[in-house]
């Protein structure tokens, strides 16, 4: 289990992670989403023991991670720009990891080297961005981590490899109860893979929820009226995230299910009404808009 208790990290005057509390159970795949600079990568670095918290604590498997080699041996972090020396190959890097990570599996290493379409003796630095990420993934998965932290891992991967990666992660989670935290802006991929989503903005956790319940609790509703009802607030009593009006047509994002808002909307005699679940990206935009981070407020 991963526990964040009042976790805070500051860089001079900027608070990158602000008094964050979170509990992630074993075997979950959690997606970290948020605006640029929201603190996702910082959080991953705190989780992997690269950074030391300025306040609060991170417990991974019940252990503090910072400068704790034994605890770190069960974690693996792939940053957004993984580092490789100029003459590093997958094989040469494996030499280092083989002796450092207690759960290193030669079998897994050979398996993943054959699964991912890259050469294990080629210099990683000469590879494309996507191939470098595959190399990092091979090494990461071969350490058989109990906790895997991935930062923008889909960036640069082709659709086939993305699909392969998702498949492998799901396999590892189901077979080895691995806990995975992925920070990404690629919400479509997260939607397929994650069972929980954490939404971050300005170092704070705006929302964290199971992805299924998240999908269920937001609706995109289009309501058209032949004549707009003459009431002060048409949507009063409904948990509206945002509204966009075009003539007599209202596009409304509502937090809740049809049972919560349909009776009230039907009471207004709309000419047309439809409700459908939001994609993760739409939920993201809606929630960020509610937090004051939308295109209109930026422009």
């Amino acid at each position: 289990m991963i526990e964040l208790k009042n976790l805070t990290k500051r860089f001079h005057k900027v608070t990158a992670v602000d008094n964050m509390n979170l509990t992630i159970s074993e075997g979950s795949v959690v997606g970290l989403v948020g605006s640029n600079g929201s603190g996702k990568s910082t959080l991953l670095r705190l989780l992997s023991g690269v950074y030391q918290p300025d306040g609060g604590e991170v417990l991974v498997g019940g252990k503090k991670l910072f400068d704790n080699p034994a605890a770190k041996g069960e974690c693996y972090f792939i940053p957004d720009f993984p580092f490789f020396y100029n003459n590093s190959t997958i094989n040469s890097t494996a030499f280092l990891y083989r002796n450092l990570y207690p759960n290193w599996s030669e079998e897994q290493f050979n398996r993943f080297c054959s699964v991912f379409p890259i050469k294990r003796d080629a210099k990683i630095i000469n590879m494309s961005k996507g191939m470098q990420r595959q190399a990092a993934l091979i090494l990461a998965l071969s350490t058989c981590p109990k906790y895997l932290f991935l930062d923008e891992i889909f960036d640069g991967l082709d659709p086939v490899v993305r699909h392969l990666l998702k498949k492998i992660i799901i396999e590892q989670v189901s077979e080895h109860n691995m806990t995975v935290i992925i920070a990404s802006h690629n919400l479509r991929e997260l939607e397929d893979l994650c069972d929980r989503i954490c939404l971050m903005h300005k170092g704070k956790m705006l929302m964290e929820r199971d992805i299924d319940s998240l999908r269920l609790c937001f609706r995109k509703v289009q309501v058209a009226f032949s004549e707009i009802p003459l009431v002060p607030n048409i949507f009063e009593g409904i948990d509206v995230v945002n509204v966009w009006q075009n003539g007599n047509v209202f596009n409304v994002t509502i937090r809740g299910t049809e049972e919560d808002f349909m009776p009230q909307l039907n009471a207004l005699n709309p000419a047309y009404i439809s409700a459908m679940p939001l994609t993760l990206e739409e939920i993201f935009i809606s929630e960020m808009g509610a937090a004051g981070y939308d295109v209109n407020s930026i422009l």
């Binding site: 690269v50 417990l59 450092l100």
Partner: protein
């Protein structure tokens, strides 16, 4: 809650990191190996070619004549191989230093790159273990290849039947100490810095600015406190305490071991607390940055200040100094800030140390310049002096490792009689007469000290010392040497009344104080010559040791007028006084001159100490590359005594060893008989 990793596991982790670093440094090591192999081969080839060719060729003379020395061995090939040993070892030594810097910079760069910080920060290895592993990698990458090539050099030498020469062996110690100190210091600097560039600049600044700053301080002490003892600055520790590259000199080993240990412990302490996010920031810890900025500002400020002071800018040396110091230190501080901080941020806030530096330096220099304590002109009244002493360096022998300051202080009790005290005070007065202690002279004196005196590393530069034990028990000393304040002349400074006394001779001359091994030669001169030199056999040393012992016995027992025995010494004082440091052998009076004056004279006994260390070419190479200037370690000095007939023990000893015939003439059949050419 924390988990632990067993020691065996830690070692395994450290080994993995070492091997990982080894792979990343393979290319650099290959370059080192190629260069070392090629240079070693080139030197060996040239040495052998010259050696074999010269065996029956006049080129041999040409080869050695470039060193102005005569080789000890007649085997030219053997000499060439010995030369190869030293030259090739020196090349390996230099290459090792250069590559040590490259490896070290590379190995510690993991602290200065965000991507590397992500990699190493997430690895399951403790921060201290990682740092120690990295340090060990840097040490071993430097030392193992060097040892390999030095081993090859020695094997090649042994194949030619040549033992390993000391200079080549010393390189092991030098490399070991230099590598340990430099890597430890750079490691500490790396932990404190956020970027590799800052680390390198800071390391260079410390290595260069510290010794130069110490030289300026020494120069000021010498220039502004004329007669003060600054021998403490000859101490390697004082001049190089913070300069880890000085550890490559291979001296002060204990200090450098402590220095390295402190650096490693401090690094380990700091690296555990170092914030990984400081990678690619200016600094992780700012204290070294402040120190280096102040050090650089001080150095540049002193340079310009002393320059302007000596040029009497603004019509006053001191005002010129203040103007120059501010003009130099402030921009230097700002530039250092711009480099380290990559901009003007925090400039004002971090400028407080600069303000403090300017105030302190300007105030201290004012006190020095205006001689607030009357140091330069102090000469006691004879009535206030209980006892006094004077040492004239022309008639002064001391062991090279003896403490000059202590000897001078002790000399304060040499002469308690009023006449002698008056004589010493009078000589002191004469010495300071007409000395110009104006501001610009003082600043010029700083340059003289830095540019002239510092070239004579290890040389005893003292010409005259005065020591007084005052009636109130205080001991006051002054030690004078040649400077921009003017040279000394024997015409004005009369020291013979003190120097040519029994007390002085027994206390300060080589004949009475030098150990047998410190005497380079003993020569007996009459109408011809005989003698032995330090490189001669043990028997010869023993024989001439007997002669010296007998002379000491005779001299101590001599209650008559010793001016006869010391007559040549008095002549030598006159000859040397104006030409300090230059031998005046050629102008010495000959025995026949003394015999006319003293008909009882039997012979002259000449005791020589100190020697030119360039006895073979390898020493020259060591000195040039090693920079130790050992030529100045012991300048040749000569003492000559006239042996009268009354010195029966001395004459008997000379006869016993066969130097003198029964009629007191030089025995030309003696083993010790030598022609003039050998000695001069």
């Amino acid at each position: 809650m924390t988990s632990t990793v067993s020691f065996k596991e830690k070692l395994k982790q450290a080994y993995s990191v070492f091997k990982w670093d080894l792979k990343s440094c393979t290319g650099t090591m290959a370059v080192y190996a190629i260069l070392a192999a090629v240079f070693t081969t080139i030197i060996l080839t040239l040495c052998l070619v010259v050696g074999f060719y010269s065996q029956n060729n006049t080129a041999y003379d040409l080869y050695y004549s470039s060193f102005s020395v005569v080789p000890n061995t007649t085997d030219v090939v053997a000499a060439s191989v010995r030369f190869f040993q030293v030259a090739a070892s020196q090349v390996v030594y230099l290459l090792t230093i250069i590559f040590a810097i490259i490896y070290t910079v590379k190995v510690f760069s993991y602290l200065h790159n965000k991507r590397k910080a992500d990699l190493y920060g997430s690895l399951p290895i403790s921060r201290i273990m990682l740092f120690v592993s990295k340090s060990a990698s840097a040490y071993l990458f430097t030392l193992i290849p060097a040892m390999f090539f030095l081993g090859i050099i020695f094997i090649v030498s042994m194949c030619f039947g040549q033992p390993i020469v000391n200079e080549a062996l010393n390189i092991y110690v030098k490399l070991l100490m230099g590598t340990l100190a430099s890597i430890s210091a750079y490691g500490l600097i790396s932990v404190c810095c956020g970027t590799t560039l800052n680390s390198v600049i800071m390391f260079i600044a410390v290595c260069v600015a510290y010794p130069l700053s110490a030289m300026f301080i020494k120069g000021v002490a010498n220039g502004f406190f004329y007669g003060s003892y600054t021998g403490v600055f000859k101490n390697h520790f004082i001049m190089n305490a913070l300069n880890p590259l000085a550890a490559y000199d291979g001296i002060n080993i204990i200090y450098w071991l402590i220095f390295s240990a402190v650096c490693i412990i401090a690094s380990a302490f700091l690296v555990k607390r170092r914030k990984a996010e400081r990678a690619q920031a200016s600094f992780a810890y700012y204290l070294p940055c402040h120190i280096v900025k102040v050090l650089v500002a001080f150095l540049v400020g002193m340079f310009l200040g002393v320059l302007f002071g000596s040029l009497n800018v603004l019509g006053n040396g001191y005002l010129g100094f203040v103007f120059g110091f501010i003009l130099g230190s402030v921009p230097a501080f700002v530039i250092a800030h711009l480099i380290f901080y990559k901009g003007f941020s925090k400039l004002i806030r971090t400028s407080i140390p600069l303000g403090g530096l300017v105030v302190v330096v300007v105030a201290v220099m004012a006190l020095c310049n205006y001689d607030v304590f009357g140091y330069n002109t102090f000469i006691p009244k004879a009535d206030d002096v209980k006892s006094a002493g004077l040492i004239d360096s022309h008639n002064f022998y001391r062991e090279s490792d003896s403490n000059l300051n202590k000897i001078v202080r002790n000399s304060a009790e040499d002469f308690a009689d009023k006449d002698s005290v008056n004589s010493i005070v009078s000589a002191h007065n004469l010495l300071l007469t007409d000395k110009d202690f104006s501001s610009d002279k003082k600043f010029q004196s700083v340059w003289y000290d830095m540019l002239v005196d510092n070239m004579k590393i290890g040389l005893d530069k003292m010409q005259y010392s005065f020591a007084y034990k005052m009636n109130d028990g205080r001991v006051v000393t002054r030690i004078y040497s040649a400077s921009v304040y003017g040279l000394f002349s024997s015409d004005t400074i009369k020291t013979s009344e003190i120097v040519n006394t029994k007390t002085y001779t027994e206390k300060y001359t080589a004949a009475f104080n030098a150990k047998q091994n410190d005497i380079s030669s003993v020569i007996v001169k009459a109408k011809s010559y005989a003698g032995c030199a330090s490189e001669d056999t043990d028997k010869s040393k023993e024989d001439f040791g007997k002669v010296i012992e007998a002379f000491r016995k005779d001299f101590k027992a001599d209650n008559s007028d010793i001016s006869v025995v010391l007559a040549p010494a008095e002549d030598d004082v006159s000859l040397y006084s104006d030409y300090y440091g230059l031998s005046s052998y050629y102008e010495s009076k000959e025995f026949k001159d003394y015999q006319k004056e003293y008909p009882d004279a039997v012979c002259l006994l000449e005791v020589n100490t100190g020697e030119n260390n360039y006895s073979n070419p390898s020493d020259l190479v060591t000195d040039i590359i090693g920079g130790s200037f050992s030529i100045y370690d012991s300048m040749p000095k000569k003492e000559t005594y006239l042996i009268p007939k009354s010195y029966t023990n001395t004459i008997s000893a000379l006869k016993e060893i066969g130097v003198l015939n029964s009629d007191n003439t030089i025995n030309e059949n003696s083993d010790y008989y030598k022609s003039l050419d050998v000695y001069y």
